[in-house]
Symmetry: D2
């Protein structure tokens, strides 16, 4: 099978590197273009990028020449790990020019016609692409975003509980340093210390969670009607954001009802068949001191959300802890899963048919 | 002035060491007896104790012979840093035998007639000593406890807000490893990791906070009527517990009202004159990313509580972060301050008069 | 193929857990018995063991009942992760009783007739088993040790340089905390700190390195004639020991000669064909700031040694840094590789023939 | 007494902040000017500087307006914490304009006529100021440097051993992150990791140590004739550089001779009387696992060097570990001590006489 060429914007940064790492063995996509800042453009990737993940960049990628941000892109599929300001216009330009853009940047997340897609949670939001194309006059192009990395484990854990009516939500995160990119947080701030503030993330958690848990009503997302309070803190952990979640529900399910909801949760077809989807989106850990970032972030190759410590909350009703890998599930991995869903749902011109024929993949009406 | 002899129970442990360090230059008290486990008893302190604080133990203390727990104690004043089970009976025995015992152990904290004393917050709870003596038939003896180390910054920050009526309280702590003693938390659990659970502390925070913020009514403490939810997590920080506090009040003060309340808060006389009392019990930090454990735990020689990030909470009304040094303010330092208050209030037989004559200290009716 | 049953002594400890993890998918061996301390014996493994590695223990192992140390062992092959004193007699008893014991414990490492085996370095030392059996009157039993975890990367890096004559060796290690087991090093000693001393390891490095790099002469190992100075320090790293090596050679090879020696180094047959052998035992990293524990310890699934920073040493001639994973390459992984070599060399009665027939493995005279 | 006004160049950086902190209560000097980069110039210090030390900057300094690097300086004494390239010409210009410049920057350290001053080690190198003034035609101006922060504990420990003849020196450092300034080392490089390379420091240690331990012969420093090999590594420690030192001596003193040499070492007059001089420049720690960065860096208010683990080295003869606080003893504190020495030796025009009259300080011929 001929793999689909993809371009990575912001390829030399920490999330860009994670895209490269996760795509190295991808069955459908292959990295064909790596785009960086003006400082990197024109140099071999292996030289321009200060590789911060384990080991070294794949040799094939190291030898690629980094392209500039305003270079013409050839690949039909584009993953964006651009900084916010650089992302804002460029992502829209590329979508207008016919590319399917799956972005991890925050710039365009809250646009009315841009879905904030998390396939296991709101695959049906993909319908917003049709609205987007109609409204903007785009034919093959599209722009799909994923949420910030801290909101991810929260909405994943809340999805199966939506049926009980979520009235209030109180979130306190303990976030890994990789969420700030590289070099990001200084070691002088993180040795023997925590920082009780992460710029911008509290607002994002409060708004993005409500959009992601909302429903598509005609041509717009109706956000979840729920009071959300987020406090974001930074801790000396490399990867893995943990969120302490407390919530008030309209109904009063038992603790074991909720654990059952989590353990039996399965995303609608075709999501479970996508190559980057974990076997189960959620796992509930019985040990009283879990989830822990270092020990649980790799669950499901970094794509699973781990939940633990469900118990009564004297102030709001229930509380628990949720964790996922912030640069896999919460960033590059989610963008890739979004692109896989776009592919099988036929939003990538030409490629979906080929793929479906060969993969016998379903893309049923369940979504 | 002749200083008062004190004994330290559990002197070789991490909190015991902090007692020794803080008492080294104390103007009223001097360490005369160091009591340890059977493993340590009979050996010179410098050899029996694995000193975990900075530098080395004071030479005078290093040369002392460690006594056994059931040895007869000579000192009128006893500080206890015993493990819970060892503390339960021994502290009561010593009080019955005429000693004033100021304990940091949790065993007897919730007894009805034992005050959970934090001088800046509830100095009037000292009146429970009279109840205790009457009920138990003790003459010169007494037992006074301080709370667990995580509750301390919370009640300190809430005291000035009591007037607004605290209806609900939601607490998420990020606690330093020294709270678990030595060796305590394994480095294999703390490198690149956090632990979302601290055994026992959630219950303590929920019950002790309500007792400390309660009021003395005749011969008993009426606990604060307030729903308290505590989540306790462990982070790779040496000293300094930070608590993310959200609360619902009956009234709706503005943010600047609250900051004024904190900045103008002063403990009642004679607390501010006690040798271990900080100039101000509270400070509000304007920087958006403070308090931080490493940078703020030493405020007021470790006895001040630092507060920051006061803002609206969409779920409960208000939220902020509070921090204090867990082994100084939250343990040994608080026990010492309690003993100082006991002294000037005349609860240490013989010594108070001498002291007041010499220090011209007030012990007015304000308390 | 019928896999060979193995028993793990000290199965609940940190290295015991690593044995379980590495053997979970092993093509030849399967864990049949897990042996623990008296505290663990009789309980299900999943309950007795505080699992400190990522994720959770394999379900099959969790359900096993932990055996006691003096229980009769059924498995022909035994891996020992016992504490030193527990290991001393028990390992010899088991070998005398006919078991092949591959140990990670230090107790019997320096016995004259016990090989300190590192297959890529000194596979021919396996001949000492014949001496051992003859001398001790053992038939099927044997005792093979691997060295301490810090010596491993050093001897691996030095093996290809032996031909130049190693006259003096100066080693300064920066060791991970997992080398001390669990709970091992307190987090109160490792936050914002290093410890310039690791009990016992300096002596081990100085003696074990000379034995491992020695040659088998008839019935004994002639140790390498070389002055070795080791300094061992502990750093806040989870896994991966880095050693700063300086050495004086009789000859004066160029830096590129040495790099060529490393890059072309291959262990003698049949070592490269063993299931746990990495594709290459050594890699030389060109980046000036490598090897780094977190980024390089997983090379070759934790079985490869990474070397970097080769340069002139004004004091001794040459210097470089070497790193390997201390609980994989330096402990459990090496014991397993030793057992694999024992297997194909015919030292495990009955099993070798079956294996060779099925695997078409060579066990040539090269060793 | 009227204090002497001082200017701090590079005042907003990490070392600049340490200058401000250490000078806050200085008996002779007071900060009158704070000079920063073009980004900071014109803004209040409290706003321009991201304070990275504990607590907050002193209120008086916070309110000062930051000056630009090419502004005219009024203060007779200038402390430089400039980056290397910015320092090179500006320090010489200021000295030429009559200022006494005490620099922590590396740019001019190895100039022939610039003393690399460490008062307890080579106070007599101050004589190079006369050479400097004569050669360059400066009258009141002067330029004095201190060494890099890693060399400091080494030369301090070696000074009392010079009499035995130091033939070879082998150094392996484990350096704190504050040595790289702020933000300096990324937390993504320091969590669960060490870096076996510190750019530039190995060369500096090898050359600066020989200059510092050299002697002034007429108008030049004769460097110590000794082979020095330095390996510099970075560890996750906030402050405090530890160096593992091995050395070959011409003579063979016993271990207790050497410890006596250290314990009895005292700097020549007037150094011990200077306000920033510790009571003893060196301490030898008997505990086998010391010195440790976190526990020993504050010895002597950060100005003392702690030594431990003296023992035989099979490769070179002797070895030990030495530690000092890298931004106090190894940077700002040393520059201040140098300025104090310059003052009492009469190199600061006008001020020395006043000072001596008032302080009855000796400035004898011993130096």
């Amino acid at each position: 099978m001929q793999k689909l060429n993809v371009a990575i914007l912001g390829a030399t940064g920490a999330v860009g590197q994670r895209f490269i790492q996760l795509l190295e063995e991808h069955p459908w996509f292959q990295v064909a273009e790596v785009i960086g800042s003006s400082r990197s453009a024109g140099r071999p990737y292996g030289e321009a990028a200060h590789w911060v993940l384990d080991d070294s960049p794949p040799a094939r990628i190291s030898d690629m020449t980094v392209g500039a941000l305003d270079d013409r892109i050839e690949s039909p599929l584009v993953f964006s790990a651009l900084p916010k300001e650089a992302a804002r216009l460029r992502e829209l330009e590329l979508a207008a020019a016919g590319h399917v853009v799956c972005t991890n940047a925050s710039a365009n997340r809250m646009l009315d016609d841009v879905p904030l897609l998390l396939p296991e949670v709101n695959a049906e939001h993909i319908g917003l692409i049709d609205v987007q194309r109609a409204r903007r006059g785009w034919s093959s192009g599209a722009l799909v975003a994923n949420s910030n990395c801290t909101t991810m484990p929260v909405v994943m854990a809340l999805k199966p509980l939506l049926k009980y009516g979520i009235r209030r939500l109180h979130l306190v995160s303990e976030q890994a340093v990789s969420g700030a990119g590289y070099p990001g947080v200084s070691s002088m701030d993180m040795i023997d210390n925590i920082i009780p503030y992460v710029p911008g993330d509290e607002d994002k958690m409060e708004s993005e969670s409500r959009k992601m848990l909302g429903h598509l009503d005609g041509d717009r997302i109706v956000t979840l009607d729920c009071a959300v309070s987020a406090t974001c803190t930074r801790v000396p952990v490399l990867d893995g954001h943990l969120v302490n979640v407390s919530l008030e529900l309209d109904e009063r399910p038992t603790l074991s009802d909720i654990i059952d909801d989590w353990e039996s949760y399965q995303a609608p077809a075709p999501v479970p068949d996508l190559p980057s989807a974990p076997d189960f989106p959620l796992q509930y850990l019985q040990q009283i001191d879990r989830p822990q970032p270092r020990r649980d972030r790799q669950a499901g190759a970094g794509m699973m959300t781990s939940i633990g410590r469900l118990r009564d909350c004297p102030a709001l009703g229930h509380k628990f802890a949720a964790l996922s890998h912030n640069t896999v599930r919460g960033a590059a991995g989610c963008s890739i899963l979004n692109a896989e869903l776009m592919t099988v749902m036929g939003y990538i011109e030409g490629f979906a048919v080929t793929l479906r024929q060969q993969m016998h993949l379903r893309a049923s009406a369940e979504v």
